[in-house]
Symmetry: C2
Amino acid sequence: MDKPFKNERLTYKLNIVAQQAITANDAIFFQETGCHIRDLRVLRLIDDTPGTTFAEIAKITGFERSLTSRILQNLIGSRLITRENSTEDARVFLLFTTGKGKEVRQVARRLSDRLEVILTDPLSSQELRALNEILERLGNWVTSEDYSQALDREVNKASG
Amino acid sequence: MDKPFKNERLTYKLNIVAQQAITANDAIFFQETGCHIRDLRVLRLIDDTPGTTFAEIAKITGFERSLTSRILQNLIGSRLITRENSTEDARVFLLFTTGKGKEVRQVARRLSDRLEVILTDPLSSQELRALNEILERLGNWVTSEDYSQALDREVNKASG
DNA sequence: TCATTTAGTTGCAATTTGAGATTATCTGGT
DNA sequence: ACCAGATAATCTCAAATTGCAACTAAATGA
């Protein structure tokens, strides 16, 4: 009858839910597609913008260049994407999904739909909408410059 | 004008918000108290249940025993908690917060309050209540046996 | 043509963490 | 009383992850 949390903080609750959901989902994605969520995200980006580049991917995802490089190497090794030299700049290469890559992307998409249904099972459709809306707003907030500044002010106030 | 996410999945949104909030908060907690969130959680547990044991902490937090051991060593090293041998079983030791530990806990508590105010700045009080309620429910769900089983069924259906 | 900048890769080292061995202690059966 | 497990907690070691910085290759521009 233990609740996982009682009066806990919002961040704590967020963390529990995010952590549990992601860990469980990631294992399933890996089992069903051979890819981890992070790789699938890159695959999706490439599939949505064929001919995108290494630098674009690194910029959009925010991953380190070395990490980006390794993820792309994995995807290429699994024959999910191909690289083609740019005709304009031989340092640059363009990324495309293979047929297999497109298939995996679809499998992942459908799986993701089903997993999200399971995750949100205890919520009414109204609650689900509300949650999406609120998280959207919070997501914008926590990634904003204003948020960092608000935190900075708080810290300076405390120690100053 | 880039939104951090558009049509993204719930888990993705959750992850962004949780990750950003936790990373930012953890740095501030460390700066202001010398402890990371994880350590503070253990400190809080001990302060709330004086005389609790290693095994209890490991069970409640779900941390590995080796990790739990290291966290306790840190807290002892920082003089925030003390260990006392159990009179009943010499293998067991009982944990207590020191005066300094209680102080740090209070500092952390107040800081946590303020950080949560900042985090939820863009939400109305009604939305905040709704979010808390929904996350509570989701937290219970994702840590339940039923959730794992629902995922198992989904996977078996897919591959079977 | 040479110096500088840019694209992407790779080697290396720091960090984190978990599994399993290890030590110390307890409990129960004979 | 003694021995054979069980149990509490620690510690060692090895695997995985990741970032930094050095590196190669190609472009740019003076």
